[in-house]
């Protein structure tokens, strides 16, 4: 399987995402610079965490307007699997691939901690490797992770099973404890926690492994 990790100025989890992909798929992903206008042919794309453009203006806002994201929008529309973690989630909402917005944490502080999550829907290409309602621990590290959407959107997300991960003990004020959602078609995932930091018992635990394995399974 061939995957790609997008690199924006001041992405800083690009290496972590690549390390995780390589460890789990056995293949080094392609690192794709934000100024590229077309994605190489890949089976799966990660938009990594970090502080693209310093998070200036709004987190993810400037990155969402970069050339490569325009191509990702196009290809996601034809079913290419895309996952955004942390800043990647923010970029995906700013790009309109996922609904809602990520606002400043309710406590007005950056939070980094091992976070318990509940896997809400295991019938997706990103979560098939988990058990239903399984609790996993995955690190979070963000300032703007407070998920907001209007009531209609929230209802729709819930009704259509697009809430994939929920926080146990909401750390940031997210509506409905939302930690991760998918798009309508189910091929785009955005989540604030960092599964790529949870693939190693020495560091962050192993709660993220099943996510990567699910994707591998789905695209092969």
């Amino acid at each position: 399987m061939q995957s790609a990790v997008i690199v924006f100025p001041a992405s800083n989890c690009d290496r972590d995402a690549a390390t995780a992909l390589e460890k789990i798929t056995g293949h080094k992903p392609l690192m794709v610079w934000h100024e590229e206008t077309t994605l190489p042919k890949v089976d799966f794309v990660i938009i990594p965490g970090g502080f693209s453009y310093g998070d200036y203006l709004r987190s993810g806002a400037i990155a969402a307007r970069s050339p490569i994201v325009q191509d990702i929008i196009k290809k996601a529309g034809t079913g290419l699997p895309v996952a955004g973690f942390c800043n990647g989630f923010q970029i995906l909402t700013e790009a309109g691939l996922l609904p809602g917005a990520l606002m400043r944490n309710k406590g007005l502080r950056f939070v980094c901690r091992p976070q318990k999550l509940q896997v809400v829907n295991t019938q997706t290409m990103f979560t098939s490797g988990y058990n239903n309602e399984e609790e996993i621990t995955v690190p979070i590290a963000h300032f703007d992770g407070n998920y907001y959407a209007d009531d209609d959107t929230l209802k729709k997300l819930k009704r259509t099973g697009r809430i994939l991960f929920k926080y146990v003990d909401n750390p940031n004020g997210s509506q409905n404890d939302i930690a991760g959602i998918s798009n309508q078609a189910g091929n785009v995932l955005g989540m604030m926690p960092h599964p790529e930091r949870a693939i190693d018992p020495l560091h962050g635990g192993t709660g993220g492994i099943a996510l990567f394995k699910s994707i591998v399974e789905a695209v092969q």
Binding site: L57, R58, A61, I62, R65, T93, E94, P99, G100, A101, M103, R104, N105, K106, G107, L108, N146, Y148, A149, G173
Partner: protein, 82 residues
């Protein structure tokens, strides 16, 4: 020419920053403050002569980048330089 863009949260969207400011002011003894909201301003220097074109342009900038209309409202003010 200058454009000043005022960006604020839509009404109905929770503003934790504003709330904290109000609370901190109360703690400092400023008890006349009943509510606070925080917004941002972006001031642009524009190399254009025409106010109408500038307005249209800035409107586009807001839609395309400067504001996130899922959560934010914006207002544009054009100031002809002195």
């Amino acid at each position: 020419m200058k454009a000043i863009i005022h960006i604020g949260l839509k009404s109905g969207v929770l503003d934790p920053q504003g709330r904290t400011i109000a609370r901190s002011l109360a703690h400092l003894g400023f008890d006349s403050v009943t509510k606070a909201r925080q917004g941002k301003t972006i001031e642009l220097d524009l190399d254009t002569e025409d106010v109408d074109i500038a307005k249209l342009d800035v409107e586009k900038m807001c839609k395309q980048l400067l504001a996130n209309t899922v959560i934010e409202d914006y207002q544009i003010e054009i100031v002809e330089q002195d």
